[in-house]
Amino acid sequence: MEHALIEIKDLKVEFKTERATAYALNGVNLEIKKGESLGLVGEAGAGKTTTALSILNLLAKPAAHIMGGDVLYKGTSVFSMSEKKLRDIRGKEISMIFQNPLTSLNPVFTVGEQIAMVLRTHKNLGKKEAFQEAGKLLETVGIASYRLSDYPHQFSGGMRQRVGIAASLACNPELLIADEPTTALDVTIQAQILELMKDLQDKYSTSLLMITHNLGIISELCQKVAVMYAGRIIEYGTVKEVFKYPAHPYTKGLLGAIPRLDVDSDHLEVIPGNIANVHHLPSGCKFHPRCAFCKKECEQEEPAMNRINDNHYVACYINEGGL
């Protein structure tokens, strides 16, 4: 059976600092097929960025520990790849857009250099051609090419994110990971960035892993969506299916929390309690302390992922039998 682009199998990751151990990922299972764009949704601290970084095997060395599971890229495990092989993939076949544009660009190098370095490394272009190519890329993301020799601090947040995007599309990668690209931007700029990503997606047909806690973005850009809570995927399916018939109480809560124009209700549904503490995770289903439908087995056993229909899976005892 032909391997999916990315397969994450039961991935467990812990961060050991002198204070305590943070259980970031507790058995993540995810799959991204070629040309597919998947949304990864969840509150802050759910492990979204950790998942993204583990795909590129870029977890911070001393602190991060892979406790179990694997990440396969086209069938081969990312953790077992040689440094050289990894370098060939990063930025060429898989590239990433980072959340905070203010800190993800090197302050002492020109914008042009930060794009050209990808071209020089992967397409071994000469210095001059790389810069020209970078100029074109800047144009595609809507920045005048003469600004190549400007420095990051001479750009606004939105513009810097565009530079990040330009750099990530330099070698038109097979998979583009966007780690909350618009969170740090205000709404108007957000719309422009999404617009840009949409045309690029059509133009280059790259598969996309969109990480965000903004469900609106998911519905616009992605076909599939996975909801993540406390380091596990608790619901997965097509956007239409999941948004229309949310199965997991947490997903219902998330969707309930969005103000809807078509419904004139004067209150927003609120999920009681707060995010699970990564240092002391609750037993059983990590959501049970906040779950209104919590049952006895929810407290002991971690529910497995079970199928509602081809386009909808959920890890929850309440909805075991489907709707």
């Binding site: 600092t17 002198e18 204070r19 602190a63």
Partner: protein
């Protein structure tokens, strides 16, 4: 900073442990030396000039590290010198820290003209290399321990002033400071109770590093006959005066040199260890 975390870090910081033991050992040795030392390190006995180190062949009674150009026992002088060099260094560090911190706080807190004046004075002192400033001042005041301390303080307070000023500038506009101003707290209260308390870490780190530098500065001044005056021994003067005998009687200058190095090394280790432990950025 809770206790458990602090001890955790202390246990792990090798520098702190090594430095701490070193400094503790040296201070104990320096201040208890009169009890077990069998020679008076200041009177000369010309017959015993340059006796090579006898080690422990005669137990504690012998010249363990040999004698210097005037027949005085080197080990005794090192221990006596330790007490003098250390106490002067600590006094100088304390004084320069005090002056520097107060001026730094005032400059940082009040800003504007006051800050300009104080900072420009710092620039003036920085533009004159500290050793040359020291020589000029010593030429004026003459060489005595009080003048030595004055000189070292005058040339070292600038570091503290600049450090404190920059730290205060950062904290000055923080909410809790503005809040206490709103409650009508007096300037002094805010400056010392509120602001100072929060910037003690960088001060402690700088303090621990400065002790070593003070001892080194005293050794350079002694080299120029401006340090501690004879017959009181100090490591700096022992090295400076013994340096011409290094080829024929090396122990005269090597012994105090190593003593000085180990002491300053321990203080530097302690300083580094402290920096690792107290450093807020440490994840």
């Amino acid at each position: 900073m809770d206790k458990k975390l602090l001890f955790g870090r202390i246990k792990r910081s090798k520098f702190f442990i090594v430095g701490g033991i070193g400094v503790f050992f040296i201070i104990i040795l320096a201040f208890t030396s009169p009890l077990f030392v069998s020679f008076d390190g200041t009177t000369s006995s010309l017959m015993e000039r340059f006796t090579p180190p006898e080690g422990f062949s005669k137990g504690l009674a012998g010249h363990i590290l040999g004698t210097d150009q005037l027949g005085r026992d080197i080990l005794t002088r090192i221990l006596l010198g330790a007490r003098i060099s250390l106490s002067i260094a600590i006094i100088c560090v304390a004084l320069s820290a005090f002056i520097g911190t107060v001026l730094g706080l005032i400059a940082g807190y009040f800003g504007g003209a006051v800050d300009k004046i104080i900072m420009r004075t710092c620039d003036v002192f920085l533009s004159i290399p500290s050793l040359i400033l020291a020589i000029a001042i010593m030429a004026v005041l003459g060489t005595s321990i009080i003048n030595l301390i004055t000189v070292m303080v005058i040339s070292r307070w600038v570091q503290y002033a600049r450090l404190m000023r920059n730290q205060v500038m950062v904290i000055r506009n923080k909410e809790f400071v503005l809040a206490s101003k709103a409650f009508g707290a007096s300037h002094w209260h805010i400056m010392f109770k509120q602001i100072f308390v929060n910037i003690t870490t960088p001060l402690i780190i700088l303090l621990s590093q400065q002790i070593g530098q003070m001892i080194l500065m005293e050794s350079s001044l002694s080299f120029l006959n401006m340090g501690i005056q004879p017959p009181l021994p100090s490591w700096g003067s022992m090295i400076a005066n013994g340096r011409s005998y290094i080829a024929s009687y090396p122990w005269v200058v090597v012994a105090p040199g190593i003593a000085l190095m180990l002491t300053v090394l321990s203080f530097n280790f302690l300083g580094d260890g402290l920096r690792d432990i107290l450093d807020p950025k440490q994840k």
